[in-house]
Symmetry: C3
Subunit: 203 residues, 3 copies
Amino acid sequence: MIDFVSICDYTGTFAFAISGMRLASAKQFDWFGAYVVGLITAVGGGTVRDMLLNTTPFWMEQPSYFIVSGLALLFVIVFRRHVIKLTNTFFIFDAIGLGLFVVVGLAKTLAFGFPMWVAIVMGTITGSFGGMIRDIIINEEPLVFRKDIYALACVFGGCVYCICLRAGLPTALLQFLTAFSVILVRVVAVKYHISVPVLKGEE
Amino acid sequence: MIDFVSICDYTGTFAFAISGMRLASAKQFDWFGAYVVGLITAVGGGTVRDMLLNTTPFWMEQPSYFIVSGLALLFVIVFRRHVIKLTNTFFIFDAIGLGLFVVVGLAKTLAFGFPMWVAIVMGTITGSFGGMIRDIIINEEPLVFRKDIYALACVFGGCVYCICLRAGLPTALLQFLTAFSVILVRVVAVKYHISVPVLKGEE
Amino acid sequence: MIDFVSICDYTGTFAFAISGMRLASAKQFDWFGAYVVGLITAVGGGTVRDMLLNTTPFWMEQPSYFIVSGLALLFVIVFRRHVIKLTNTFFIFDAIGLGLFVVVGLAKTLAFGFPMWVAIVMGTITGSFGGMIRDIIINEEPLVFRKDIYALACVFGGCVYCICLRAGLPTALLQFLTAFSVILVRVVAVKYHISVPVLKGEE
């Protein structure tokens, strides 16, 4: 049975993979290269998290992430001309995925017995490192650290999780509130063009 | 005693290291930097595989990969003017190395108890991630995803391995056929300029 | 109680973080992005070392590296105009940090039971990979392999460690001599513009 969390997980994977493939296509990557970039965008953050936690990466346990990324590639190839019109839709999918990825990163790290601050770091890595690795592979400066609020939305979600946990909220509610707060920060930041100040250089 | 597999392994390491050093020299890296880029090109794929398999990287068990990379550096320094004439020779060495690296990645992953599809992914990572990391360090877009068939040859080899294994072929034969099929795909793709279609962008 | 080694460690972390933040600010990263780049510059080398050693990264055990990096960010924001005048001071801090990072990498690897040559490799990775990852993220060719003697100073320190260990020197003295030799090589290389020859290309 596919539950609600799995649906969010696959939605996020699909949206993250699409974001990787769109940028790869702008760089003349071939289909297979675009697939790899999309896949790494989707699973890269969680993979870095699992390697830091010294455990087997989550995607090695079931092939669904490879299949969802394959569907994303098919989607980009078939609906090429229409993908650009769907930018707003993808943005929402991407934000949902981000919210869920942060929750997964937080919960998994706490389950390994690490303190809350490590969990917040891992939630942020889960949400933002896929996009960072994507930008490194396609040879661009990472967008996640330069545009709108992205990685910081993950940190905010981690703080919400921490507060809710100490307030004794039930797991389902606290996970929902965390994901919701990440999505909310993303949507508000993009809609009102809120961003962190640029670090001014020396001259 | 140095067996046939070790000879192929060192040949591949030598060729992969040379490819890294040639690209590093075009970017004005110093000798030591070129050595590091060559070494990472040669052992990078297997290192990522071993980190994902959560085991100690293979090169930490014996210094031979560092020595072979050192010989490759010496070769590039001494025969600088002649290296370009040897491009075709290096291409064959590189293809042999690729074939062997894929086989090593497949066999090691199955020995760790993972299913066949994970082994195919790991064989592909073993063969192609060294070149990808090389291109990231020298600040270029990865060639492995944009030129001829490279990473896809590794996937093809993995499928051949899978079929031969289910057909019950003896280990030596199935490893030979896998390596051979990877090399064949590479040679045919380069000779006849066969490549995966470029993923077309949105405008 | 904060001992001498911890002071050197935090000094190095601070200087490494500053070097990451200065380069990030030249690329228009926002405050949070600059913080992440600074942090990765400081802990990146040790993190790669710990992942290769198949152990939990050192920074997951205590939040001090995150706090020191935060102070470095505050310093860069507040003293922006004066940072450039302090370049020489930072250079010394950076060299002290490098010396200490190499010693930590050597000692930790030997404590895990690896042979000396692996320890020298790990000492070099601990000292130089943070800067390499920094340059990859900000999309530049790695400085550590192109300018003055940097990574090679780490290798030299490793050899000094090896010789002192075989000579039976007490731990404190051998660690001091190793760190000192790394710092000395760095200072002499920069002062007298000594560098490794560039690997000449093919045309």
